[in-house]
Symmetry: D2
Subunit: 403 residues, 4 copies
């Protein structure tokens, strides 16, 4: 039998950290004894548990400990973080540590150092000279870099539910359209205001249905009012936004009458062609071709807009990044300072963004399809709150709630 003593502390009772830890131990075939347990007696006081974890063999113990780490478990007698050297560009050492999106620290020379720019499913590179640690995607590591391996000296700060009534309370509950959404929308508005008051950035991730439903005008207004600092989207949203600015249609449907005014998809191709002809979206604004819409407002107010291509794109529209690694890089660069993310009507970009966002960013996923909303949570973005509702009416209501 192999064993190890671990400590858990913080809001481990009300954040379900402790029971989830027990679950992991038992599911993996281990057992435990509670050596000490103190429940915080006030809402702000943390709790503490010290457990002796027992497993039938070293390998099982190792597996258990690596999973407990995700809940914030720390070995009682810990060592410094271990690293291995990258020997091939874009290839990690065999036992590489794969990150979660939770705040993470590594022990360097006995000191806990925070991993910079944490995101999910990437490696941690250690710069021993400057005593820094930062996350890096697999394909970006270079020969000679020191990459964290194994599980020693790593501390993850689990996603905690404060005992104090959470302002994003609706987020805790299960996904359903049968909820009072107006309440949730007002709560989101309140959070957006609070975020902007202390200078935090708000990211909007937008799918093309925002334009098709005529809700582009609400987003444009949000931009004008300063509630959007970063936009992530694809070729479709920018194309239909420009189509609506140039021709008043989206996929050929007149946004004022709801009627199909043009056979087939020609208008969106015309929109792309028109911008290609002048060279860029910026130029189109400059010469007065582009006079309204989300893209126009974003350019005018100097909002960072990362447009990532996809395999289904027509055109593409100038400004859309066609290389996926390049696009991810631009998305990563736009994230520092983002404290809130509102993802509307986009499955592909929702997942892409969820992969990159640290768990500390308050994230709201709005989609009429419950599958999109649950998918994000399933993929590890625990912090994402879902709202199963109509994108168009959501944005309209949000704008009113912010007034």
């Amino acid at each position: 039998m192999a064993s190890e003593v671990i400590e858990l502390s913080g809001h481990i009772i009300d954040s379900w950290t402790l029971p989830r830890a027990w679950d992991v131990i038992m599911d993996r075939g281990g057992n435990f004894a509670v050596e000490e347990m103190r429940v915080g007696t006030s809402k702000t006081e943390p709790s503490y548990a010290r457990l002796k974890v027992v497993a039938p063999d070293d390998e099982t113990l190792e597996l258990i400990l690596s999973e407990l780490q995700q809940f914030g478990a720390v070995l009682l007698h810990g060592n410094d973080v271990q690293t291995a050297t990258v020997e091939q560009d874009g290839v990690l050492p065999a036992k590489f540590y794969s990150t979660t999106n939770l705040p993470t620290q590594v022990r360097l020379n006995g000191q806990w150092v925070t991993v910079e720019n944490i995101e999910m499913d990437v490696a941690v590179v250690i710069d021993k000279d400057s005593n820094r640690a930062y996350s890096k995607p697999m394909h970006e590591v270079r020969v000679g870099e020191q990459v964290v391996i194994g599980h020693d000296g790593i501390r993850v700060q689990p996603f905690e539910r404060a005992r104090e009534r959470e302002s994003f309370a609706f987020m805790q509950s299960s996904v359903s359209s049968e909820k009072v959404k107006v309440l949730a929308i007002h709560e989101i508005a309140r959070q957006m205001k609070a975020t902007r008051e202390h200078g935090g950035k708000i990211l909007f991730v937008l799918g093309p249905a925002v334009i098709h439903t005529g809700a582009g005008r609400y987003v444009a207004e949000l931009l004008r009012r300063g509630y959007v600092q970063v936009i992530f989207g694809g070729n479709a949203i920018v194309t239909h936004d420009v189509e609506s600015a140039l021709f008043g249609t989206s996929l050929g449907v007149d946004l004022r009458s709801g009627e199909q005014v043009e056979g087939g998809h020609r208008n969106h191709l015309r929109a792309i062609n028109a911008i290609r002809a002048v060279g860029s979206l910026e130029k189109a604004m400059e010469i007065g071709l582009l006079r309204e819409g989300i893209t126009y407002e974003a350019l005018k107010h100097n909002i960072t807009m990362v447009l990532a291509g996809s395999i289904r794109d027509d055109g593409p529209m100038p400004g859309v990044i066609n290389d996926m690694q390049e696009a991810q890089k631009h998305m990563r660069q736009a994230l520092p300072g983002v404290e809130m993310a509102i993802i509307v009507a986009s499955m592909l970009h929702a997942i892409a963004t969820g992969n990159l966002l640290p768990a500390t960013v308050r994230t709201v996923v709005v989609d009429i399809n419950p599958a999109v909303v649950t998918k994000l949570a399933d993929r590890g973005s625990f912090q994402a709150a879902g709202l199963v509702t109509d994108a168009e009416l959501f944005l309209r209501e949000l704008l009113e709630a912010l007034a």
Copy 2:
């Protein structure tokens, strides 16, 4: 080879009546020759076609003619309607004619007589003395009644799309959440106003999600403003409506805070029990126990409310009709005068109502689940327009649009 000459007239081009007729003829293995065809030269002028339908045998011809009938085809040389006598209560003669929900006439003594209270999938009973024809569900026919059989002497008025731009234009298009719904909601509001102006009744069919999402207040306001003349619902909506009036919760969730204030389902049982204790919903209002909500407003304004039970009901709440045939009967009795039906968040009652509504009633099905919306159309309610959107935000927006 068997053959017959038929005539089609009306908006048979733009309502797709003619091509659908051709389709049927060919799908069933027949063929046709266009003997005469006149296309109306102005928007209001009807078109006309006379076709010779040929089939390999009499049986196929019979099948083809019976289907063409649904599109309004009339035999060039027609006979009076044929009937057979009911010989067993609740049992139809073998060759009974089964109705559609389209306006239907039968030829009695050479005269076209309109079938009263037409609905889908029922029989037509002929009262020869009074020269009347009316629809009757199978289980209500009585020994001695004359029931229409075969296909002679029956004329169905197909669902026509006027060539004039349709005010319910959004209804023609396919179901999708990616449409400008605010436009459609304003169009519905306009139709509701027009309906009320000339004294037409508006039916609301409501599912319990209306209460769970806090949208009961919007429906109550619609009732106060005179936009609801008939309500169809079940045990759940009335129970949660009363629960919210008595305790401020729906399924135990506080409608003002969105929080679960009560463990499990106890409040809705308490609501039912409280009404059972006083005897009826009417009594509860009278003694001041019930002071708000949809049911309260309906009782106060003397709105017909048919509450039909179902196999999943708790309680039930007094006033809910537990016998299904009895409930259908009450629903049928409430329909005369109804010109518009708004069905919100209820699959079961949507289908039940769709079965009873004549095709001439403008019907809007609002549900966040596209399956509900398409299901009604699949079942023969062609006239039903679908809106895939959030029930709560729809009702809120509708109320604003009516202001």
Copy 3:
């Protein structure tokens, strides 16, 4: 400050009983101290915890205790169960105790007595003479009966997850179509065999899509092989089953060719009419009119079949129960001995059945729509495992797995 000491025992760690208890205490504004905690050291050994629960006032404490009860908490110093007398037929005493679907005991004269026929959301009646307790729906209580009130002397056995690897392991995980369903189907088959080996009954709840998709033949074969002891369904499934037996169609679609062979819905009305003409389904079998299908096999093998009507029914088919309270009563009477329930493609009957089933019945909900699957769990049927898959292919595969 009010306080009380409670005990929890059993698989309270791995069944998440303990953390859920803590959650409730804190969510309701209370606090607790762990007075004693013993974790079972082997897989079969139970764990134990004694907690002192503290709340700001008596009312809050009462609320907390009543919720803890659902998790199996027992007051250290408990009293006998309290009752009040029914004073009006069909009306419960104000503070009535509302059941869960979990095994429940009440303390009578210091002894724990099991509540018979437990189901969700009903009352508990005490027969003091015979020292018995049984559940009863609200509308069935009669003047003079003793109904349990408050929370004293009630013990609920929470739904426990055995630490031993659960044979229905797939049931624990979240609902998704992106799972290996063949594995789950084989597991269900294994459980069905085991259930039948020791004489347990298996209930099938079936929606009409079973017939529309041509899967009726697989269910008929399951009946012949003795894997079905009880069937719950509605007017639609029996009607289309008879339609397919008589005419080879379901909703007019030929089940062998997939083609629409009959315009509109006439065949299912003809099927109902044919059975009405002979008087009953039994008679139809007797005279050789009904020769195959689910209903035929059920009648032939003397399988209990409860057919509950609904508001959307045509006909109805003889044998369908049109009074909802009557139908629920028949369903209740058919449940004793049922150990497994397979619910396929029926939202309405799934929920109705879920309301009546004790949590000890292994329940599998199979539907292509994830909303149906999650709805049951949301309504308190924790024991229900969901399989988001195709009903037709599921039944075909299940039959193969049982071979």
Copy 4:
């Protein structure tokens, strides 16, 4: 008033070409007179109609004619196709003609010439020297090329429904899970066999759920049996396929037991890293690291596999094309010879493929989510037949049907 005489010929009655043409004329505010109309008297004989189209002004007439063209209308007195010269790389002339996915011909020197490699939403380039016409995406046109503009001299062959009973009959009907899918699967199998017998290629487009559900083995077997000539997919399917080959898991779930064997997403990162370490998938097969799975079989049998990256990718896996224009180019190059496309469980790749496929390729979209299935048809891929069913059970059944 402006007018023009057009001709329509072929299966214009049973393919609804004629009524759809009438609809367009009236919707756009025009009118028409039927100058001549001949209905084919046998199943194989084409029909013919000559219409005089009238519109209030030239612009409206132009719009109407351009839409009628999609249905195969040809001007009675036609001219040669018109072109304009590309003056900027990647930018089309203002009045560029935008293609449909239907077979298209252009009139060059009075001769009808077929446009090569037709696909949706691209331009047509004319090479006058060689008398050829071919389709080209906007971003690929180069200065000096002659691009088709306007609507003269263009003939589109509409999607015809043969009067003969269609072998893909199930495809004509609306999307629903409530159909006999086993029939449809056997029909697909029959078509696949027929396609292979005359050397046609079959394309499979696969989403990662194919691997997650354990259905990779069925696809691998299809590959071995020669039923797959081209595969389109993304980073996810190849990554999880390799993960399952190397570790027996998909997203960390053991495909034999259904249990989560590994915390989080580490195994798929390990799989990518392992292939990156050896350099390529080909090398991994060569050295015996990759010994089974879809990718292995594809490499072994020399199957074309186009793997297109996306913004949500981890890694990426070597072999995945990260530039979207490059990826589309590879997809285009793989299409010649493809006569059938089976798209399973992938929304993104389904739409991307639908954009590139000519309408003559028989396309089946299989997804458990009806939205995916309808989305493709909404976007203009009329020829796509949908099957709302479980991908895993579909592939298992398809394999059996092909045996």
